[in-house]
Amino acid sequence: MSKASGRTAKAPRPAADKAPAPKKYHTLADIAAQAGVHVTTVSLALRDHPSIPPATRARIRAVARDFGYQRDPLLDALNFHRARQTQQTRSVSSAFVVHAGTSRLFGGFGGNHYQPLVYEGAKSAAEARGHTLDIFVVGHGHLAPARLNTILTARGITGVLLSTFEIDIEKLDLDWGQFCAVKIECTHLSPHLDAVSNDQLQVARLAMRRLRKLGYRRIGLATAREDQTRLAESFGMGVLLEQSSLPEAECVPPLIFNLADVPMLPHLLKDWMREHRVDVIISNWNELFDMFATAGIRLPDDVAFACLDVPPSMPHVAGVVQNHRLVGKRAMEQLAIMTDAYQRGVPEAQTITYIPGYWQEGVTAPGRPHHQATWE
């Protein structure tokens, strides 16, 4: 009874009286028919959607396995493409959670450069998917974790980005089983969710290498103990690693100061510089830049300076520019993947993604022609 379907027919169809060839390819509809559920239930179940009871999910999976069902990567790619081309009608909202106690690091929004850049990156990635990203502040005088939990649940928000928390906050108590979550930088914070961070180790190593190429031979790291702890000593390790392949005469012990000692810093800095004949200081503390003037240190005559986190407002300062925007973007992309796959809760093994920074030349660390290595 099959009629040749007009001009587009490419090959003769098999005769109608023959038994239909066994199906080589099974679709969701086949599984649905076999399992006695609707096709959308099958689709959701195979993607582990929490709205389908676990027992049903298992049953449907078993049927899919018996059929040898396999996801079709080509259709998958087409779906991905179509989802990107068409404007999403439903709006998905994710939370960008910051801690009220991080004012020193960020100076609130609009203050320090770090937090706004991360947020901007995350927001752009969210918007590219038609999602919105709302800011929530927890801690001192703001939301308590339990309250945040209630608000997120009430608004149907499942995606949570945790942006940098200070080290004295060790834990954030949310009902993690309900949420897909990614941390930004705060790897010390429990629970062990996947995290995205600047690659501080690479940043320190890059700074050491570039400065050495510029002719510096006594490179000294100055940073706060709190930063070392918060960043799992990444700056310190970068310096140690570079020093391990340098001659002994070039190894300057780092100046690690406590936040409580900051008022004394101009003195500490001066003593340390003199004792170790530091020719260039590397630091993530942009505040040092202002401190040199008060301490009567002339830049770059007395000492050169390279920042380990150059803000956009200091294009004349030498150092490493960290890709904060890209960190935010990658974190949001990862969160979107998890939300799409309904991957909630704490993962089996935590993954940390590091984003490298790049070097920026500046007047604070000019080349020292007499010292430049000739072999490079």
Binding site: Q70, A77, G121, M237, L240, L241, S244, A349, T353, Y358
Partner: protein, 357 residues
């Protein structure tokens, strides 16, 4: 001034036939036919449309092309597209992979098949593929996803035209391209192990790892070790032992034993699974004289060996996921800032490093 890390989403979108149609003023079917050189479209028109397509940067998406081709041929199901899994250690053909490589490979294989792809292993090296033969093979089989899996320094390397491929690397930091790289977190592994051994009462902990392994993982064992050493007094610090390239077990045993005796090491951290045998080969008694822990325990792990258990299958899984994400979105080549992914591991106690009473 700053590099273009965040392309405007409108620009990031790949131009489609529709865009070419709008710009050229022809209907979309005309454009489609013209780009496929259909004789029904006059030559000058074809030429004009092709020029506009080139200017807009239109490229045929190989995935959709394959999809539509199979649909036209009447079978809905296309054969699974392949992802190349490159190894430069002569494995995958005759030789069996060492356990840690096997675990990574199996993870990659499982993830590929879950996503509907097929993983195809290639050995790169003298008797196997070189850049040219591999390029030819990948082109002929329309493979554009590549995983560079645990290349061992000192063995063959490869240079493909990376702009044509979606690439991810597993370790392999000593070799190009600068693609997203996946690894287990050696820094944290060493630091966790060091702290655990310290808590168990060991005073002179030493780390012995292969130089080749360090080169391929970006010296991350050393970084973690040097940092932990800063927390012990200088007289108790032990310089790390880096085995030279191509060390065999026999020469290694002597080297380790000399280092243990010279620095009075009471606990050895090593990334080789046969560390206990190496120590015992030179007459050292484990754990009464010297304790040991392995930094990379994988099945079948020697019984009673303490150490770090990495989630190696996740390395393979993640690498494939990254490649597939690029294949889906049609991205090719390496990004301006390639990220590094580190999967965390867990410590496991064992009788080779008991608590010291």
């Amino acid at each position: 001034m700053s590099p273009s890390l965040d392309a405007d989403p409108a620009q990031a979108r790949r131009p489609t036939l529709k865009d070419v149609a709008r710009d050229s003023g022809y209907h979309i079917t005309t454009v489609s036919l013209a780009l496929r050189d259909h004789p029904s479209i006059p030559d000058p028109t074809r030429q004009r449309i092709k020029e506009i397509a080139t200017r807009l940067g239109y490229e045929r998406n190989p995935v959709f092309h394959a999809l539509s081709r199979f649909r036209q041929q009447g079978s809905v199901c296309a054969p699974a597209p392949h992802i190349a899994y490159l190894e430069n250690y002569a494995v995958g053909y005759d030789l069996a992979r060492p356990p840690y490589m096997r675990e990574i490979f199996e993870g990659a294989q499982r993830q590929a098949s879950l996503l509907g792809y097929q993983l195809e292993a290639f050995a790169v090296g003298e008797d196997y593929h070189d850049s040219r033969s591999l390029t030819k093979h990948l082109r002929e089989n329309q493979v554009s996803g590549v995983v560079i899996a645990g290349f061992v320094p000192g063995f063959a390397e490869i240079a493909l035209n990376w702009d044509e491929y979606a690439v991810a690397k597993i370790h392999s930091r000593h070799t190009g391209p600068e693609a997203p790289t996946i690894g287990n977190d050696h820094i944290r592994e060493v630091r966790t192990a060091f702290r655990r051994l310290t808590a168990l009462g060991y005073q002179r902990i030493g780390m012995a790892v292969g130089r080749a392994d360090e080169d391929s993982c970006g010296h991350r064992h050393t970084a973690g070790y040097l940092m932990e050493e800063t927390s012990v007094p200088p007289e108790r610090r032990v310089p790390p032992l880096l085995f030279p390239y191509n060390s065999d077990s026999a020469s290694l045993a002597g080297m380790i034993a000399r280092w243990v005796r010279r620095h009075q090491v009471d606990a050895v951290l090593c990334n080789w699974a046969n560390i206990r045998e190496l120590l015992e080969a030179d007459g050292l008694r484990v754990p009464s004289q010297v304790a040991c822990a392995c930094l990379c325990l994988c099945d079948p792990a020697p019984a009673g060996l303490a150490g770090i258990r990495p989630h190696l299958h996740l390395l393979g899984e993640r690498a494939v996921s990254i490649v597939v994400a690029q294949l889906k979105s049609g991205e090719r080549g390496v990004p301006e800032f390639a990220s590094s992914l580190y999967v965390q591991s867990v410590w496991q106690d064992g009788e080779s490093a008991p608590a010291r009473g």
